[in-house]
């Protein structure tokens, strides 16, 4: 498995998109921390951008890389290797390099300018989002044979979780505003990894606002260690389950 990873990394290190992504994150984070007098403000701006960029890049990069290394995968399948190991090896290689990009692009600036729990929470959720969306992109790539279709599906999933999902929640809230919906909303948001990641950071950033109105409920449920544990567990499910399904499909896939 790690042999496969080795060769994926070997190839990916020179990938221009990945280098551009790393540099972009690094420059962006440094600018934010450097320009904003208040590091917390910088984190709030970064949160917005990270929540868009990380899933998007993870999806697109993974899908396109997977299709581009289709030949390599074919070559490997004809070798005495287990398919599960080939796929997981590929996953570790791609997800690992995206994580490294995030460590360099976000982790280092955080260490340089704002080494505090809030910024670190942002960093950890960023890594989880990378893993999750790489996993989802793998699922898209393995489930479709056509590159254009896979790419389209990836973008659709990203768009769904980034915008449509929240729009639907807002729509539900608007239509049923007479009903007590706080628990419903809580459950609904937990089903969207981007929302959940955002809320984990928000619980640290907007403590004051969340203590008010209905926010207090979320703070009491999610703000505790137990709540944090559950949130992270749900995020891990989001990362592991698509990957398992992906392995299952890949085992039966005709190359």
């Amino acid at each position: 498995m790690l042999k496969v990873t080795k060769y994926v990394l070997h190839d990916i290190v020179r990938n221009k998109i990945l280098i551009a992504y790393t540099v972009f994150l690094f420059v962006l984070s440094c600018c934010m921390f450097y320009l904003d007098e208040n590091p917390d403000k910088a984190v709030s701006s970064l949160l917005t951008i990270i929540n868009i960029i990380v899933p998007l890049v993870s999806m697109i990069f993974t899908t396109s890389y997977f299709y581009n290394s289709y030949e390599f995968i074919e070559l490997l399948v004809a070798q005495p290797l287990k398919r599960t190991n080939i796929l997981l090896g590929e996953y570790i290689g791609i997800a690992g390099s995206l994580t490294v990009a995030l460590i360099i692009g976000l982790g280092i600036p955080i260490c340089m300018y704002a080494l505090n729990p809030l910024a670190l929470t942002l960093f950890y959720t960023g890594i989880l989002l990378s893993l999750i969306f790489t996993s989802l992109a793998f699922l898209c790539s393995v489930a479709t044979r056509d590159k254009a279709k896979g790419m389209g599906l990836s973008l659709l999933i990203w768009f769904f979780f980034s915008v449509i999902y929240d729009g639907l929640i807002l729509g539900i809230l608007y239509s049923f505003s007479d009903y007590p919906l706080e628990k419903t909303v809580l459950v609904l948001t937990a089903f969207n990894p981007i929302d959940l990641g955002r809320i984990i950071v928000m619980l640290q950033m907007d403590v004051s606002a969340l203590m008010g109105y209905t926010g207090a409920l979320y703070k009491t449920i999610l703000g505790t260690n137990w709540g944090l544990f559950i949130s992270v567990a749900i995020l891990l499910v989001w990362f592991i389950v698509p990957l398992l399904i992906c392995v299952k499909i890949f085992k039966k896939k005709n190359l």
């Binding site: 060769y7 190839d11 004809a78 005495p80």
Partner: protein, 239 residues
């Protein structure tokens, strides 16, 4: 050595293999022939575990291939179109294959005959189709496996390289290996193979040695012999 039982495979509504059963033994050079979309490549890919059959089994030395991919260690495969990671250099590719299969290079004859070491620093994406074929052929033989599966081996090769490869196939046959090959060039099949497995619409139409086939049809040229055989068959069926 390889035993195929009632192999079935369909892609969506299209039945590609409709219950194939056959066996391949060491020392045989078997040419799998048939019209386009008759299921040749699917059969080869099934043996290699790249296509997962819907039903039926493939036994390699008596063991079910769907359980353990270890049998692939005994197969050298040369694909129809060799596609390799773009950024990888030829030398790295060979190193990687040795690393992945955990084997040393046992047979570097083709490697040297094709003069590949001088190009070890070229990235794969810059190579011509012919050079890729050379790389594929050298890779297939590199570990001296008892089974060789060659999909259109000489397509795209220059005449000199094609001759080198054919000589190599002869030599491997002499060693008692099982060689499966597909080709559209009848003279080449005539020259290399000693048995024809003819497929049509997902079924085995016939499976004869070349000598038998020529005897049956009374034709001396393999291409003609096959045509005659098929005509006779159709005639029998229509009556």
């Amino acid at each position: 050595m390889i035993e195929i039982n009632q192999l079935r495979k369909s892609f969506g509504k299209l039945d590609v293999l409709k219950g194939i059963s056959t066996t391949f033994e060491p020392g045989q050079v078997i040419s799998i022939l048939g019209p386009n979309a008759s299921g040749k490549t699917t059969l080869i890919k099934s043996i290699l575990g790249m296509v997962i059959p819907d039903s039926g089994t493939i036994l390699f030395e008596g063991k079910d291939t769907s359980i353990d991919p270890y049998y692939k260690k005994k197969i050298g495969y040369m694909p129809q179109i060799g596609r390799y990671p773009d950024n990888m250099k030829i030398g790295q590719l060979f190193e990687m294959m040795k690393d992945i299969r955990q084997e040393k290079a046992h047979d570097e004859e083709l490697l040297h005959q094709f003069d590949l070491p001088s190009m070890f620093n070229k990235p794969m994406r810059t190579l011509s189709g012919g050079t890729r074929q050379k790389v594929s052929a050298a890779l297939a033989c590199l570990f001296n496996p008892p089974v060789l599966i060659l999909d259109e081996p000489t397509a795209g090769l220059d005449p000199v390289a094609a001759e080198i490869l054919k000589a190599k196939i002869h030599k491997e046959k002499e060693k008692g290996k099982l060689i499966l090959l597909t080709s559209h060039i009848m003279s080449e099949v005539d020259e290399l193979a000693d048995q024809i497995l003819y497929m049509m619409e997902g079924q085995i139409k016939f499976n004869y040695t070349i000598a038998d086939l020529k005897d049956i049809t009374g034709e001396n040229k393999l291409g003609k012999a096959i045509m005659e055989y098929l005509k006779a068959e159709t005639y029998v069926e229509s009556n």
